[in-house]
Amino acid sequence: MSAPALEIADLTVAYGERPVLWDVDLTVPAGSLTAIVGPNGAGKTTLLRSVLGLVRPAAGLALVLGRPYPEQRRLVAYVPQRGSVDWDFPTDVRDVVLMGRYGRLGWVRRPGREDRQAADEALRQVGMEGFARRQISQLSGGQQQRVFLARALVQEAELYLMDEPFQGVDATTELAIVELLRSLRARGKTIVCVHHDLQTVPEYFDRVELLNVRKIAGGPVEEVFTEENLRRTYGGRSAAFGRLAGS
């Protein structure tokens, strides 16, 4: 039995006085596709960011494939929300994808032919071949998301942490992303997505973690994604979820 792809223990994060995450434990088995679901302000993004060391937790531990994250950095790729960067930055698609390779290049060295081939291959996998020299300011929202996914692909990671990859993308892109996530899983990779659309959870994911500052429940979708758990996660606004959880 190999180590879980991601193991979080007792994670607590506070901004000032206010706890954003409180005593969260979570285990993500390798080769799974997991959704992190919860209301706004539940700490979903913070969870990913504290695993990555972008937010300093007050307490807790994150292990990636059995070892602390700083030792396993190369094995983890992060896909942030699209809005986290300035898409008017003067650069093109291939250049953004190549940035995913900067970690392995070392100081001073520039990306070489091998890196460019990896970038073009990643662009092909996300259906963006032919866009390599396109200015990033000219991309649609869905295309921006695909570029971010391609950038994560060239990192050749084992664990992919994605923050709302389906946010504001067109239907075609959504399907393409789902296909991509499944093919990653088929190759034994592990994917954890912050996800907003409850309707698609059972279709897209095999595991779900319900989060609202504290962890409410976590496990296989068919066991955990119940009306009762959703009510506990979303509080009073529960009536709408009965239909969803039943479906």
Binding site: L52, G53, L54, R73, R74, V76, A77, Y78, P80, S84, V85, D86, F89, P90, T91, D92, D95, V96, M99, G100, Y102, G103, L105, W107, V108, R110, P111, Q135, S137, R151, Q155
Partner: protein
Amino acid sequence: MIALLPLDDYTLRVVALGAATLGVVAGALGTFAVLRRQALVGDAISHAALPGIALAYLVTGGKASLPLMIGAALTGFLAVLLVSAVVRTTRVRQDAGLGIWLAVFFGAGLVLLTYLQRRPDASQAGLDRFLFGQAATLLEEDVVTMAVAGVLALATLALLWKEVKILSFDPELGATLGLPMRLVDVVLTGLLVVAIVIGLQTVGAVLMAAMIVAPAAAARQWTDRLGVMTILASVLGALAGVLGALASAEVSRLPTGPTIVVIATALVALSLLGAPRRGLVARALAARRARRRLGPAQVLADLDQLERLHGAATQGHHAATIAALERVDVGPALAELERRGLVERREGDLWALTERGREEAARR
């Protein structure tokens, strides 16, 4: 153009070289300050450099440019460190933090300068040239110092190109890739300090920030490539520097800093207006072409939709009603549709689809 200038004049040659050096370095480093939206940081550094110059003069007692530049760099960099300390430990935001420390350091600088000017050796010191800049005071050794510092700064930038690029575009990605983004940030800020200090004697503390922002902002309009933008900003910075310095050397009592900055600002205005694709003129033309192309078809569809909403018995609709849907002037589109016999103008300035127009709308 260069041939027309009296460059065989030794003083002018020194002045022009100095101004070109400052423009090249400020343009290149300014590119990243602008892309990272840190223009105000440049302003804080240049103002905070003033007390450093005065202190360095007090300590060394001489006006050799190297000690003065080192003093300027130290207080300039100290100000940035203090700003980030304040932002990290209090609820003060970065813009307020910059404003606070800019005022504190600049105030201290003015106090020191005033004190120094009361001393008997004040007239020799000429430290007030660092306020608004005076290119004519540049000596060959000053320019050599500037050039050496500038070349070192540009070489560092070139070596750290990809680290600086990722810091500017997506520092969090850089951090998750294991790149020391904090360190790269400190180094890049240090290079910005060098770029500013190089220009202080020529442009002055008050306006040096403009030389960080203007060439880069102008260059951004002409290109979508980071490397090209950096080089172009350098070229434009040098151009503004040389023209301004020469003008101020030719015309007596014309302060260099403001002259250079006026020229740099003119370059920005020209670029904002005239650049292909991003320029205002080009964008207005493109918008007009797009309206011409899409206008009639869209207006036809709008009229069709209005007719469905109101039933075919409608009298027609005012142009303003249609314009409200499109948020543009629909006059030309209606005229075009009328010419093609797809719409008709009725009593009371109302527009309605003709039978052919209805068929056309249905076919789309």
